[in-house]
């Protein structure tokens, strides 16, 4: 599979983030920080990935930002409600 290393690194940091999210269950402040951290890390991952693949464009970065923002907002509002 192409870009296997890239996707393994993505899976690695998402697994760590998810693990921390689970460990800090019921500690909402830390869970929110973890969620924001995952969103930022994802945008950085996307940017680096496309820079390496030499198809970097600001429109692509914007797409990663929107996807990360959307997912994080949904989870953060859910955490704030719990």
């Amino acid at each position: 599979m192409k870009d296997l290393k890239h996707y393994l690194s993505l899976l690695a940091f998402l697994s760590i983030g998810f693990g921390l999210f689970w460990i800090f269950n019921f500690n909402r402040h830390i869970q929110i920080i973890i969620t924001i951290g995952l969103g930022i890390a994802y945008v950085i991952w996307g940017t680096i990935h496309h820079l390496i693949k030499k198809d970097f464009h600001w429109r692509i970065v914007w797409e990663y930002i929107i996807v990360a923002f959307m997912a994080c907002v949904l989870v953060i509002f859910l955490l704030l409600r719990s």
């Binding site: 996707y7 998402l14 949904l74 989870v75 859910l78 719990s82």
Partner: protein, 325 residues
């Protein structure tokens, strides 16, 4: 535009949507986020105008929480805590204070500490601690959550504590029907301690704050050895077991005790999972068409989006109501 072509425009990469499912365009994703945020603020407003409609129904009993607490202590080789009526009364007052002044914290906005409630009910202590929880479904999940938090766990497994007081109170906090659990720990001064004035400091441990010896100003709250008072206080009263009861909602500002119609948490969770699932489905469909039709376009990686959103969807699914402090 017919419904079929509109759905195709929304979910299938085609020349009409610039070879990318319309729902995955940043403008549509932004619109969805904006609508979600607007919905959340509308819910907040609705909670303010119709507080009794929203809430959380739980099945927590003080007896079960105490039983589980003692069970956890026994598993760690510690003796059981004795239920003390005065501590339970202090716990009830603390819960009532949180509802009355609309706060969720160890220290009230006016600066009132948990230890003031000990003093209010006349409970004198050598060591004291407080655990708080809200909006849990049942007693087991409350104790489980406390045990998973190092600071709360330290309170439950503190060998210095000898007595426990507990209160489960229903009321309205920030416009939402809420169930608060207040767990107080204490160690009454022993006769030996009473008679040795030099032996100080009591420890007042608030879970989120590093336990600090109550050796300075708070010493007025802590047991200053007063043999006369001890003599007036029968030995049996310290370990007295008082029946616990749920404080009715009506106690707080005379509000209704009728069960809430729906929970804001469950509503938000349903919408969040639906939206994340919708985007996940759209990404999968888009990826399948891109692969099948060998479409070349300037875009982020669908597989990466799928993995990221999948992880957050899993987090949302696993999020359960309840908070501890």
């Amino acid at each position: 535009m017919s419904l079929v072509s509109w759905l195709r425009h929304l979910f299938v990469p085609h020349q009409t949507n610039n070879c990318k499912a319309r729902i995955l365009h940043p403008s549509v994703l932004s619109l969805l986020v904006a609508l979600f945020i607007f919905g959340q603020f509308s819910l907040n407003f609705y909670m303010l105008v119709s507080p009794s409609v929203l809430g959380f129904a739980s099945n927590i009993t003080p007896e079960r929480v105490i039983e589980l607490t003692n069970q956890k202590r026994a598993e760690n080789g510690l003796g059981p805590l004795t239920l003390n009526g005065k501590l339970s009364e202090a716990a009830q007052r603390k819960g009532g204070d949180m509802f009355a002044f609309n706060y969720w914290a160890h220290v009230s906005p006016s600066g009132r500490t948990p230890w003031s409630f000990f003093q209010e009910v006349g409970y004198r202590y050598l060591y004291a601690g407080e655990n708080l929880a809200r909006d849990f479904m049942n007693s087991d999940s409350v104790v489980e959550a406390w045990m998973n938090s190092p600071s709360h766990r330290d309170n439950i497994l503190n060998p210095n504590y000898k007595e426990i007081g507990l209160s489960v109170i229903n009321g309205t906090l920030n416009g939402v029907e809420t169930t608060l659990v207040v767990q107080l720990f204490g160690t009454p001064p022993t006769t030996t301690a009473q008679n040795t004035p030099a032996k100080t400091p009591a420890i007042a441990a608030v879970p989120t704050v590093t336990p600090t010896p109550v050796s300075e100003p708070v010493i007025t709250i802590t047991p200053a050895p007063e043999p006369v008072e001890l003599a007036q206080q029968p030995e049996s009263e310290i370990g007295e077991v008082a029946p616990l009861s749920k404080v009715a909602l009506a106690q707080n500002k005379g509000e209704s005790t009728s069960p809430p119609l729906f929970s804001p948490f469950l509503l938000t969770k349903t919408i969040a999972i639906f939206l994340l699932g919708l985007i996940l489905g759209a990404l999968s469909l888009d990826a399948a068409f891109v692969c099948q039709r060998r479409i070349i376009r300037l875009s982020g990686k669908n597989l990466a989006h799928l993995i990221f959103i999948g992880a957050l969807l899993l987090s949302a699914i696993l999020t359960t109501p309840g908070a501890i402090l």
